[in-house]
Symmetry: C2
């Protein structure tokens, strides 16, 4: 056993090639052991295992600086930099995050989780080095999939011009999360097929020196390659051909499924827990496929994450040219949608809340200013759907709802979601975004409209007095519970409102509440700052109505305990009811 | 005279080459006549004049679709598509906008003003065509300067894969707004020098067919070139070499100055009105240059607009390697700044309010989550600084102030601005953004702190009672005026507060106001939705304090009358005072 003795990269440098290869096997086994029990990014780490060993063998971290893209491939890096136990001791599995994390180690430079940032961040590291005088190496690691993102390209463009030491390792495993898409990838293919010799070379065209290695999972060759560029005085791209999921046959065979996964059985590759109930991803894809058959102008769009709205490989095949994966390129996805909608098509862009952040200016300029009737489905928008700090999904409300012209809808049930989706695809007046519920697929208890073109009309589902609860989207259920608690525990007969529209207020209804209500509370499953509730509060600013806003505090939180987080923000029916009673005193 | 008879592109098609050349001269003269009297984008339109004529000669707009990047080069397109009078009749100069505008003409597809969007939008237009069945041409026009933006690259990547008709005209005038920066540009140079023959070709590497034309201001050759690609069945890049400012010697000689300009004297090229007073752009650059001499780790960053913070060509030269122009690439600029700050450098990124929108995810992920102590100077953040709908500068407060960890400051005077800037560059705790005042360089009437590390401490500059005015940044002056009006006209002795921090509230001070105030008003020079004032209102939601928020309504407005806009939003001291008196009733 070698890995128990690896306390720092220095210990890697002492091994010979045979020992390094044995260590790689041990690292792979430990990784698989942990990931099958714990879940995480599987195939990206298996594919970059040998390269990580070689990088630490050749370079001298933390003097030399590694910057990982997405950093979902950093597990082996963590194992080699003093954090082995978090991968070998099940009790310590949760001691490390799934991404690089400076608070864990001086070998980690940045907290990173979104794609296409490593070259840009590394440019900054190199620029500071050059300003202050230093001669260490700066190494950016980036996958072929991440190369489709505009930030990566902007970084490459600047890196090439900087003209000093910068080594960009392109980890080409011929996959993004799903398959790659884009013209660039035929060039990477050409480069692989010509062993890096083709004259027409994307990286050279951008101004880089260029080195190719076909055997990107061969430690010895990787070491020789990295040695050849160490201490270079100019920017160089090291393009290595790796096998995603290397060494675990199920991952090698189904790279998309094993990109990231929940715990699985090591012997069979099957997930340990499977969920059989309805979910909005599958329901959405089935609905869209059925619509696509009827209407050739409908087109699904993804930015590299097709399964977020249910477009598995089989469904993508069924959709044919009515489904477009633009690669990890959210900016383009939004602009493309606007272009399609402007020319009479009907685009539906499905996207994670955390990733729609990457397209603010496109939402504003390409889409909203042009009032293009595209549809955007924002998935997992919630305070608690993801709890890695880099993947928080609770900023989409302030991001989207403060842009003029966009109608941002918050359905509360299955019927309402599909009614809104159906309407959004048949109207041609507005860009429409829909915040897909996260609280399970539940049936509506209330009548659901089919037409949402009369904007910003809230729905009173229960008329009470004194206290009105405006409960948005996924938090409508919490509103219902709060009504119950107020009634049962405090004898209060509260009004319950489904606002439906995140992006505008129903002044008439809000006004009418003044007659027989003293307190309005708003519930939203997102950050409070810049969000929905503040607009209600502003409306009542010049009145006697008191208003309490419930939602999340503005803060970055990481791997938080959901129950504790919910309590801290007073987001249970009991805590809300207590606050209501205090406000009524 | 030909141009008086040009009512539509059909009239262009009737002319022979000699007549076309004569018409180009007439178009140039008319353009120069208007621009010298009216201001606008000068050199981009002069350089693309012949190409526009050739495009309309060869293609059949509006059946064939043109999508312009930034669309600041669309003046000749407007002249040829039924809007000639807006360029030849001084009384009608303002009938057209400075960008493409679908409400003006069926020949304009999108409202566009930010860079790097044309290929993406055109991809959408082409995709809708392909879904619905159509065989017209889709032509995207993009300048070499705009190619540095990530969205352009994301679009190219997808366009190449789409595999159907799409013609991308790269208007290579060897300039961005300032000079070009980035590795890409050595490839464009190589292509020009080899007459497009070099094997290493960025566009081919991205999967495009490629055609080069060296004489990009020669109508006859342009026509032949465009004819050669018309009705192509696959994506092709037509790379044309043009002269920015073509035909006007002052513009040819000083392309940066003549990129955009206010009215100028046609005979001398000198601006008709010059402003001699102090301005924050020049003051900032001089301050930074002086700091750079003392501290080698300081570096100024621009994304293609160096003069926004005073970095003229002379000052850029003085700054040397302590100034980086990354090209039009705001995402990279922010990530670069974060990387520099993380590694001990001190980056200062100067940017227009409207363009910082292009980097939301980088502000959040690359900068704020990492708490990198970079400095961002947001210029022209205001309701009224720019009034083209694509360049509105009033969304930066919701954009930035709702991201955790970023300290967003709003200085009210010259002294306070430089105190804040000085502090921001000497601290290492927070990413700091500063909203540079827009209301002239004015002296402070109040003591100014030198240390802002005790966050979110507001400053009471005048203690009154009953009414408290929280007047943010550039609107502090409006707060002072409102205090005056309230005093003189209504005998009210209002409290005046300079909040200084946009990104947080001073709970203690706000609490203390409850004792002897009935009404708090907030004034902000930005959109109200998601902004500063709403946070104050939320704070008081559960109290008897009434709150009025003054700022802009959430809407896209275009070429608006500033006085009318100000009145509509009740943003004069008199109108505010009236609202205050009504609220106190």
């Amino acid at each position: 056993m070698y890995i128990e003795n690896i306390k720092s990269p220095q210990d890697v440098k002492r091994l010979n090639y045979e020992q390094l290869n044995s260590m790689c096997d041990e690292l792979r086994n430990a990784l698989l052991e942990k990931l099958s029990a714990h879940g995480g990014h599987i195939a990206p780490n298996l594919g970059f295992l040998e390269a990580t060993v070689a990088l630490h063998y050749v370079f001298n971290s933390p003097v030399d600086k590694f910057v990982f893209d997405v950093s979902h491939q950093c597990y082996v890096h963590k194992m080699l930099t003093g954090r082995m136990e978090a991968f070998t001791n099940p009790e310590k599995y949760d001691l490390v995050s799934g991404y690089t994390e400076p608070s864990e180690s001086e070998h980690d430079l940045f907290i990173v989780g979104h794609t296409s940032t490593s070259v840009s961040l590394a440019c900054g590291v190199a620029k500071a080095r050059d300003l202050k005088g230093g001669n260490y190496n700066v190494i950016a690691v980036i996958g072929d999939g991440s190369l489709s993102g505009g930030e990566a390209y902007e970084g490459l463009n600047n890196a090439a011009e900087a003209g000093t030491n910068m080594i960009i390792v392109v980890n080409d495993n011929q996959m993004s999360i799903a398959e790659n898409h884009g013209g660039l990838y035929q060039n990477l293919k050409l480069l692989r097929e010509t062993n890096g010799k083709a004259e027409c070379n994307f990286f050279k065209s951008m101004g880089f020196d260029y080195v190719y290695l076909n055997d990107g999972n061969d430690v010895e060759k990787l070491i020789a390659t990295f040695k050849s560029v160490k201490d270079t005085k100019h920017p160089v791209v090291v393009h290595i051909n790796t096998l995603k999921g290397h060494g675990y046959k199920f991952a090698e065979q189904d790279k998309e499924t094993f990109h990231w996964g929940m715990p699985f059985d090591l012997a069979t590759g099957k997930p340990k827990v499977s969920y059989d109930g309805e979910n909005y991803s599958d329901l959405t894809a089935e609905y869209l496929l059925s619509e696509m058959k009827k209407y050739p102008e409908i087109v699904g769009i993804t930015a590299g994450t097709p399964t977020v709205f249910g477009f598995t490989p089989e469904r993508r095949k069924k959709a044919g040219k009515q489904f477009v994966d633009v690669g990890i390129a959210e900016e383009h996805a939004v602009a493309l949608a606007s272009g399609i909608a402007t020319n009479g098509g009907k685009p539906v862009f499905g996207v994670f809340s955390t990733f729609i952040q990457r397209a603010y200016d496109q939402l504003s300029q390409d889409l909203a200013i042009n009032n293009s009737p595209a549809v955007i489905l924002v998935f997992f928008g919630s305070l608690t759907s993801m709890n890695d700090v880099t993947h928080l999904c609770f900023f989409d409300i302030p991001l989207i709802c403060n842009i003029p012209n966009i109608v941002y809808l918050a359905p509360t049930s299955k019927e309402e979601y599909f009614a809104m989706l159906n309407w959004s695809m048949r109207q041609n007046e507005h860009p429409v975004a829909i915040r897909v519920p996260v609280n399970g697929v539940i049936a509506s208890h209330n009548p659901v409209d089919s037409d949402y073109s009369d904007l910003n009309r809230y729905q009173i589902n229960k008329k009470g007095s004194k206290v009105a609860i405006i409960a948005l989207g996924s938090f409508y259920e919490l509103g219902e519970k709060t009504v119950d608690v107020l009634h049962k525990k405090y004898g209060i007969d509260a009004t319950l409102i489904n606002p439906r529209y995140i992006s505008g207020i129903d002044s008439e209804m809000l006004d009418s509440l003044k007659h027989d209500h003293k307190l309005v509370i708003t519930l939203e499953d997102g950050v409070l700052d810049g969000g929905f509730g503040e607009k209600i509060t502003r409306f009542y600013g010049n009145s006697d109505m008191k208003v309490l806003n419930f939602g999340g505090k503005k803060e970055f939180v990481d791997r938080f305990d959901i129950d504790e987080f919910i309590r801290k923000n007073h987001l249970t029916a009991e805590l809300i009811a207590e606050d209501v009673m205090n406000a009524l005193k």
